[in-house]
Amino acid sequence: MTVVASPPPPSVEQPLHRRLGLTDDELEAIQTRLGRRPNDLELAMFSVMWSEHCSYKSSRSLLRQLPSSGPDVLAGPGENAGAVRIGGGLAACFKIESHNHPSAVEPYQGAATGVGGILRDIVAMGARPVALLDALKFGDPAKARTRALVRGVVRGVGGYGNCVGVPTVGGELAFHPSYADNPLVNVMCVGLVDEGRIASAAATGAGNLAVLYGSPTGRDGIGGASVLASASFDEGSAQMRPSVQIGDPFAGKLLIEASLELIERGLLVGLQDLGAAGLTCAAAEMADKGGSGMRVDLAAVPRREEGMEPFEVMISESQERMLAVVTPERLDEVLAVCARWGLPAAVVGTVAPDGDVVVVEDGRELARVPARALASEAVVLERVGHPPVRSRPAPAPGVPALAHDGLPERGMDPGAVLQALLGMANLGSRAWVTAQYDETVGTDTVAGGARGAAVLRLKGTPRALVMATDSLPGLALHDPRLAAAMAVAECTRNVAVTGARPLGLTNCLNFGDPGVPEAFWQLSESVRGLAEAATALGLPVTGGNVSLYNESVGARIAPTAQIGVVGVLDDIALLVGPYFRNEGDVVALLGEAGPGLSGSQYEALAGAAPEDGPPLLDLAREVALGRLLRRASAERLLSSAQDVAGGGLAVAIAECALWSGLGADLVVPVALPPAVVLFGESPGRVVVSLPAERWPDLARLAAGLRVPCRRLGSVAADRLRMRLVGVGATGAAEERGAGVADEMDEPLAELERAWRGALPRALGEAS
């Protein structure tokens, strides 16, 4: 038998298991489970199923810390996607997944198939996908390679999502030098299903049939899970292109419609999509989940190429395929539905009572492996973590560096800093990206996520679905635990500012080589932070994805815990938007600035003193703030509410203005250095606007919940004016002998120019 022919070129001396990416210890573990030596086909099946991508062997023991249950959770980790109850008999299914390595090798196809893959996960739950959010990370946008990656990935996300008719309603785009060789493409999908119709991924009922439908199986994506997703990049990465899957969104659309029709008509016992590790994974996981076995007949698998080896058929990652378990009585109807949608379908297997995945061809048994040995009882690795060795101890969160004041020392005035921040690729308008995505198909999009959270109305109900995705990689380089917790808090806040109740959380953990103690420490610290924040906020983690080995020679990505939160607003009439509504409204700040500039966009722009630590996260404060926002929405107090995040308070207020075309005239008290107050990214803050006559009500509510609430000024016409008063400001003013550093007064049109042109400028498409 030949082995994986493409990458990397097999060296003759290496034994097969190593060429397939298995260690000697893992081979021994396989032999222990089988009680004999595996044959080559069995070894190939183990190699993909025991890959990091499929087995979570390095992360599984960590993920147990995550809270996953709650009164509204209908499906949690281990299912194709999480599901939470959203009322009215409906459930929201959601999950976020990575397609990082394929996108680095072939950006368009990598991103497109990433979208296709997460869509199928949601469909496998029986849910109709209603929204996509993409979280993208790239290196320096000034570099030609980065620009090609950005263009390819954005085109790929749109190419798939636009075609299948699922709106891309939000996401994130961030640049950081650590992603130069390892861009991140994380895609979140949200779907809707009747509570009682959530599909099972279990193969049950001996004698039931396994029907493979969708695109015929080819050689594309052979070993994608084990080769691409489970090793770091080196000079040979270009040869990995054959391991990248090719997407066909039209086939994907047919697959979605056919699958939903099969489920709606109650024709299926179980359903699973074919993603990483292809047929091997679907057969093993479905059998394992159902406590049964599955007999797979290779000759029955529809193919698009001739002469495929058995192992190629079993581990091919050809896209747009699903495996359904059906009773023999329903088979004809199932095949008829597939035929109507023009999809090839074939009975490729039978559910067996014995617990083994058995591969046969022309009556010959080629492999026999216990399903659980491939799936739930895959190897678990105990990795060693170690914090990075730093030349000096890292400052603790919240330790103020009052001596250091970025603004006056550098002779900057806040208006100039604000313009510079808005002109950064990380903070400028997202229109360059969002214009390439269909945001309105489905006729449910009430608000796109380029302005905070995405909001979808639920037809036929008074409810709205609210979702957001966030991450803080810059901060994670300083403190991965804090960054993960803060990303959970920020994402939850983004959902809460609309007035919605956050219901569940999904995450995509993007890290380096888990065999490197520092990288594993970053992963374990992040999971710890995630668990702490999710627990404190009462938010169940219903699923997610882990992507490791995001490093190449000499460079590891910033630890990136990408968080996705879904919530529900029971009455869409109570929806609070993020930007100013009425001239004359009061502008107020909920929460207060804390010290810390580490990891902020201001630091990326202007630098921060080494003794300045990251900000402090107060989870109890976050809970109180969430409560306050929901009460304020329920009492219809607010005209707008906007989370303070990247770029700090000044950028948050500027966004309220830029998105609405209304300015503001504000007085900002500063007890800390002005740079920290205006541009620091300490959490727990929300900028609200409201009619003046509701101000006393808000102040009373906030006092009752012990959330600081300060009136800053009012919504004004076409300028953004902020005067700084108090301890921090006075010193600066005296030192400079003029009021320059204590005031900004910017015409909106000028801020708009900086903000709108940021991304095209950074990508070299405008001057």
Binding site: E257, V441, T443, V446
Partner: protein, 229 residues
């Protein structure tokens, strides 16, 4: 009043059009492309999407779908046909409307909100649009750049077949000649446009201007039905 919304395998605005047609007061239903039967529909909507994947050219294969034969007969009898986005592309490919839709001059898929001026108010598709009103509708397409040779464009204009043009402040998003966003056939009974009226069907979605067009269609079809029986 019955409206049929054609479903090609890759249609993705079929349910949106169905929803909006019902909001406009129609008894609307989906029509499967492989069945040459309009099931009594008095007006037909060809919705947006990627009818057959459109890897070759938007709408190029859809014109061979069995239902297109009966759509053609329906149009020949003076029945109303509205093609939205991909539906517009299919109608030009099928020869039911003049012109072609080329790749956007930006060479990108373009999504966004545009404004349309309505050139005529005496058509079945625009009779309910108040004088002086521009429409705010979303676009979402990669191939929406309207093209005809100059001489034919002059003739099209002279015949009053240009129904919608992209207007300020957003302006022309795709390089369409003479800012053309939608046209009618010479009989004024078949209409195609790139923007999506069905997506601007409720205030909560940002605009309900599209309902002016859909209500016009439904009322016109009912009126035609009463007249012709």
């Amino acid at each position: 009043m019955r409206v049929g919304v054609v479903v090609f395998p890759g249609s993705n605005c079929d349910r949106d059009a169905l929803h909006a047609a019902r909001l406009a007061g129609a008894d609307a239903q989906l029509l499967w492309h492989a069945e040459p039967d309009l099931h009594g529909a008095e007006a037909v909507i060809l919705p947006g999407g990627f009818a057959h994947g459109d890897y070759l050219r938007a709408g190029a294969i859809a014109r061979f779908s069995p239902i297109m034969g009966v759509v053609r007969e329906h149009a020949a009898r003076g029945g109303l046909v509205l093609g939205i986005c991909n539906g517009f592309q299919v109608l030009t490919e099928a020869g039911l409307l003049p012109g072609v839709l080329r790749r956007n001059t930006t060479l990108r898929f373009e999504h966004g909100w545009v404004r349309l001026s309505v050139e005529r108010r005496d058509t079945p598709f625009t009779r309910g649009v108040p004088e002086g009103t521009t429409l705010r509708l979303p676009i979402a397409h990669g191939e929406g750049s309207y093209y005809l040779p100059d001489v034919q464009l002059d003739a099209l204009e002279a015949a009053g077949q240009v129904l919608f043009r992209y207007a300020p402040p957003e302006g022309n998003p795709n390089g369409s000649l003479r800012d053309i966003a939608g046209v009618v056939d010479d009989g004024g009974r078949v209409c195609g446009l790139m923007p999506h009226p069905e997506r601007a069907s409720e205030q909560i979605l940002g605009s309900d201007d599209g309902m002016l067009l859909l209500r016009s269609l439904v009322e016109s079809a009912a009126w035609h039905e009463a007249l012709v029986g």
